[in-house]
Amino acid sequence: MAEKLDKKKKVKVITKEKVDLQRLIAAPTGLSVVGQPLDRTDALLKVSGKLSFGADYSEEGFLHGKILRSLFPHALIKSINVEKTRQIPGVAAVLTAKDVPGRNGFGAIIPDQPVICGDKVRFVGDAVALVAAESEKIAQEALERIVVDYEPLPAVFDPIEALKDDAPKIHEKGNLLSYNKLRKGDIEKGFAAADVILERTYKVPFLEHAYLEPDVIMAIPQSDGTILVEGPMQAPFTVRRNVSAVLGIPINKVRARQIPMGGGFGGKEDSPIDVGCRAAVLAHHTGRPVRLALEREEVTLQTSKRHPMVMKVKIGAKKDGTLVAFEGIIYDEQGAYASLGPVIPPAGGSHIHSMIMMPGPYEIPNVKVDAYLCYTNHPYGGAMRGFGAPQVHIAHEQAMDELAEVLGLSPTDIRRRNAFKQGSITATGQVLDQSVGLLDTLDSCAKAFDWDRKYRETGYIDRERTKRRGVGIGMGWYRTSIGTSGDACGANVYVHEDGSVLVFTGITEMGQGAFTVLPQICAEELGVRLEDVRLVQPDTDIVPESGPTVGSRSTTLMGNAIVLAARQVKEAILEMASEMLGVPIERLESKDRKIYDRGHPDQSIEFSQAAAKCMAKGKRLIGQGWWVPPPASLDPETGQGNPYFVYTYSTHMAEVVVDVETGEIEITDYVAAFDIGKAINPRAVEGQIEGGVAMGIGYALMEEVVLKEGYIQNMNLRNYLIPTSLDIPDIKPIILEVENKYGPYGAKGIGEMPNIPATPAILNAIANACGGRVRSLPADPETVYWAIQEKGGGLKKHENSF
């Protein structure tokens, strides 16, 4: 006979918000779901073509929405004539600025972008009218008939020019959107103590996300007066907030629903706000469902990009390579609208993130950074994988190599000397007190890559002396979290009487594996199998506020919230199991659908039996988790504080062969090592690594939004080049786990880390191979060719010939 449990003696599972963070990591016994390379839960649907993306939804009953765009990068709208267009049969609505019912402005941070421009346009891509019609053909014809009279204004296309007093003003408040500074130590004393000082300037262009699925949003007015806005979106709560303001209706009357996404990479953090607000306005006006889909060219023309930058670096070191001073100036080109650039206190927004990351993952006692975020009449920068960190890594990683060369040190030696370790202090004065695996990544990468030998064996590889081999390293770090004071996350877990589970949190599945990884965490926590857990398609009516799927925060923040929610339910289930088995709760283990006495494993019941009994007895099978990270801080005057609570670290090494006669590059070997705390699903992590490296390679060698006087020259994928299968080598990923005490099972983020060090690793390898240093990207054959001719000049092709 089993003993009845003495209720007074039972041990409670911790469920309060102020949890002992140590308990968030590894379960007492071995893991059975977390850490396994399980098949993705949605893979079957995807390989059979059965998963519905936005464009696959039926168009029946929908009006087709289209946008009339500006023909000029900066112009006044003198007049707009839509009367004739409204009369075309099949046209349901033609809207101009005065038809916007609420706030005629949207934006992820500052609503400075007009839904429909009324008085002026600020970039080629600004909307001047919206049309909804019965068919796409009629909508297009209607667009063509609208007559707009523009008065072109002088425009500015360069952030440094934009800061001049006589530059044309793009917004009322002027062209400087944000000026931020970082001051640590004494910069002058620092440089005075340096044996060597290196000064360089690096330049990077606009990049396009080039997700394969073009944007599409459906706005459907509901019979109860609410409006449903659905489509691929990384930030449903931000979409909801903006649509609410634009329509002038309360937030609780707008429902934003995420659907599976064909790639996001940060672009679908704000493009759905743009497309969604416009679709919503058309739907609101007509009272009918509206589908607004962008053609590929329109995605490039209209949506956000990666910020271009001009970065000036001045770096001082001792003879032995110890860094003593770092001074950086960033001219960050925001483009026409604010999007995700400006500061969300204390450390949110891409611009301040760039400033914080500028000096790199190195201990430097004296740091000064001045960062200027400037409007121009160009398309605008938003969030793109890395959010301002990739650009500055291109600067500091190349600067480190250039410095090493001057000092006669190897690229690995100089980094080893300065790289962050446990206890290091960052440029913002943050003490890195846990989970700092940077040097581990350097060691394991160097070993797998065989760095020492390859570094010695660079040089010509052919008798004709046309091809030279070189190697390069890129080291990096990236935050987990977005650094805002509101960065918190909710999740709900419901267990059902048959042991199946529903999870609710605002995560987007955009291919990173979230719909597999988060259920894995929940399954492990509860003691069931992955296939028992379903993550509900996120919908702002259904899931708790959880923030956007960005900033590599999802596994950690949403994972933690899920852990807390799961533990709340688990408490009830284990209490019931304890009763059913007559075993004290502290002896119970829940694993693989069975709850058993750790001491006598054959004494067990099914998880579902305990759940069913709970249900029968009215016990709560609903868990709610709310996780708040350690508070972010950053002093606006000094840039000192703890902006992000944990970082992921990485080292990449690349071997390239440069054709020194043509400038063509071939990548012949690539190793990338990551400290990610804990790999919840190692195969998914590998996928992120391999895909991220490919993106970083694209940035290095071929990607650039080419602009001429404000007009994009390469709007389709024919001329905006991303790597094909023949351009990417075999990549060897290495996963290291230096436990993060703030992450579920010790995990940190992985989404953005992989592409960041890849770009400088390639650029450094090119320079090592042929002496040609490319400081203005991309390093396409012509640019590399001129860099070889200049041997250090690195002139960009356009600058050379125009």
């Binding site: 390379p37 059979s48 599976p260 991303i722």
Partner: protein
């Protein structure tokens, strides 16, 4: 309004449609026949997510006039699963090797892989990369896709 009559084989079954002359194959498949597995990415034949098989050869359906398939055989991603629900070895390999991330390029990739393996049952890694060079993927870096196609070729892929 004039129309064109097209009789062709679709996933093994005879089909007869009458469509507007400017209909492109991808729109015939998706909008008229309801087969949404084939995707649209660029409408220029530059990204390959729209790839289907036409008489066994991979083609970009977004720039192929529907009228061209008259008298020919078209196979789409939906045609790969057997009647009893069993997956084609390439589909199975994509799942088990982790070659699927966002899934948008997946149908186009799998169709190109099938065209490759039907002609060249034991391709080298280089030949695999050549075979899928016409489909862009922004998520995977192609690595696990190449591994999946290799695995499928080893598992025997003749279907």
């Amino acid at each position: 309004m004039s129309t064109v009559k097209i009789s062709f084989k679709l996933n093994g079954r005879d089909m007869s449609v009458e469509v507007l002359p400017n209909t492109l194959l991808v729109d015939l498949l998706r909008d008229i026949l309801g087969l949404k597995g084939t995707k649209v990415g660029c409408r220029e034949g530059e990204c390959g997510v729209c790839a289907v098989l036409l008489d066994g050869e991979a083609v970009n359906s977004c720039i192929l006039p529907a009228a061209k398939v008259g008298g020919k055989s078209v196979v789409t991603i939906e045609g790969l699963v057997k009647e009893d629900g069993q997956l084609h070895p390439i589909q199975q390999a994509f799942i088990s090797e982790g070659a699927v991330q966002c899934g948008f390029c997946t149908p186009g990739m799998i169709m190109n892989a099938k065209a490759l393996l039907d002609k060249n049952p034991e391709p080298s890694d280089g030949e695999i990369r050549q075979g899928i060079s016409g489909v862009l993927c922004r998520c995977t870096g192609y690595q696990k896709i190449v591994q999946a196609i290799k695995a499928a070729s080893q598992a025997g892929n003749r279907e």
